[in-house]
């Protein structure tokens, strides 16, 4: 690992400097994570008096649990919908701003502020708009299309609600990175293509999009992590995983089973599964994102 050509010779000082970071990591990260792994192999009796080692039974139970499989499916649908929508909308906006000369700065400011809105607050905002009794969108849907919106009863409506809130919150982030990516593409490439007679759409497909692929790939990983973990607050503030588990994503289920259902063994096994998912994603991010995606 890289260091400086010359270094300070102190023996104890570096440990002292690292102590706070390592202490917090050990107490609040490593120890709880270890506990989760340990718990996942144990089963606690109903009164919490004794525990028995059950090997992989908690994991096997998960894979046979229809509710867990449902949560898995819900997570996949939610992630794909959110990632695809937020990435494509952000790309369209970034392409439009990239054309602007004078107004680019103003548009950027007006588009990036939702980054600062907490996911829970974003959830509450859309929950208000979609409120079946007084919300404006259900009113329009009823009047125009005769659709009876109710996210408290219809699973699909609830899913749409959380996807909309999650996308709304994430567009600003993706937009900023897409815009930075677009601005780093040399104009000469696009000019050369234009001289060769390629129109704006042809140039987008053959030059801009391929050159953006490192940015896109990076955003893909970051967005998947966002939909898996940071959206907890959106779900909790709006649907609470319902109706009938329709929006119960994996990370919400861990919380629900652990704190509400007090099923510690199963909750711990779910935690371990999530840890493995994050590890894979982190690995992918560090292994491949730095290197250019081939084009």
């Amino acid at each position: 690992m890289q260091t400086k050509r010359t270094i300070f010779g102190n023996k104890g000082l570096p440990y002292l400097l690292l102590a706070p970071q390592l202490a917090i990591t050990a107490v609040f990260f490593l120890w709880p994570a270890g506990q989760a792994v340990r718990q996942s192999f144990l089963r606690e009796d109903a009164f919490g008096l004794s525990t028995t080692f059950v090997g992989l039974r908690n994991f096997r139970a998960l894979l046979n649990n229809p509710e867990y499989l449902n949560a898995l499916q819900v997570t996949v649908v939610f992630s794909i919908a959110t990632v695809v929508l937020s990435l494509s909308l952000a790309l369209i906006l970034a392409l439009a701003v990239d054309r602007m000369l004078k107004s680019a700065q103003a548009y950027t400011t007006l588009l990036i502020w939702p980054y600062a809105v907490a996911p829970a607050v974003a959830g509450i905002l859309w929950w208000f708009i979609f409120n079946p009794a007084i919300g404006i969108l259900p009113y329009v849907m009823e009047a125009r299309f005769g659709y009876d919106w109710n996210h408290n009863l219809t699973g699909r409506d609830a899913m749409i609600l959380v996807v909309v809130a999650a996308v709304w919150k994430q567009i600003s982030y993706n937009f900023l990175f897409f815009l930075a990516g677009l601005q780093s593409i040399p104009t000469s490439l696009r000019e050369a293509a234009a001289i060769d007679g390629a129109g704006p759409f042809k140039r987008f497909w053959t030059i801009t999009l391929p050159l953006l692929s490192p940015t896109t790939f990076f955003l893909l990983v970051v967005n998947v992590v966002y939909t898996l973990f940071d959206t907890f607050a959106i779900i909790d503030a709006t649907t609470g995983g319902g109706p009938a588990q329709a929006t119960n994503i994996l990370v919400y289920k861990v919380y629900d089973d652990g704190f509400v259902g007090l099923n510690l063994g199963s909750s711990a096994a779910q935690s371990v599964v999530l840890m493995i998912i994050v590890m894979v994603l982190t690995f992918v991010q560090f292994r491949y994102v730095e290197r250019k995606v081939t084009y």
């Binding site: 300070f8 208000f128 708009i129 567009i171 234009a194 607050a233 510690l264 909750s267």
Partner: protein
Amino acid sequence: MVENQRWLDIFAHVILILGVATVAFPVYLALVASTHAPTAFMSGTIPLVPSTHAPASYGDVLAGGVAAQMSVPINLMLFNSMVMALLIATGKIAISIISAFAIVYFRFPFRVLAFWIIFITLMLPVEVRIVPTFAVIADLGMLNSYAGLTVPLMASATATFLFRQVFLTIPDELMEAARIDGAGPMKFFRDILLPLSQTNIAALFVILFIYGWNQYLWPLLVTTDSGYYTIVAGIKRMADVVDSEPLWNYIMAVTILAMLPPVAVVIFMQRLFVKGLVDSEK
């Protein structure tokens, strides 16, 4: 711009205006709702134009005692959120910058191990270790305290890596010169490294302030005493009413207040914000 195509420019403007309007739409409605009296929400749809009830809505929520589920004054929640955001941002930066200093400017046994231990925190977001982390906090007696709200969130691999990158770009000659002049490590850190990393610290502070302010799950778990409620976690408690309609004008007033500080930071410190965001993702 490559060529002058009028229709494409107009099209781009239309898209952007639509985008800006869509992004602003929910906040506009919340703002409007907070200016109405509670009676405006009894029937029909939510109001689309502002009314004159705003001073009453905001005054009531700030002072507290509107209804049972809103008895905690928002003043107090805003204060708690501010304390939490500032402590988390300051703590993360302080802890990370000295770790990065140790890793870059010293060579000692277990240096690589320490680096990897810090790296691992990236893979363990709060959400995947909720139950055991909560148990640790409870055992340490840190529930309902500012320490419980902030200390467990202070470890940061991202910030450590960022400062490591910054330090690696600082020329070796500076340190050699400092050593020849007889400066010890801490003097070098204080008088040379800190001033050189000023912009990075400021940019990171903006990002971490937003991160701290917007924490949700953690304060929800750690605080049961209303004296420590933070505003983002508090909204949920207000919106949760079982037997009556939510008091929309008050909830929306709180929502606006909850997003005001971080949004103001993004708008007024946009350059630092963008730098912080891009830096911390490398």
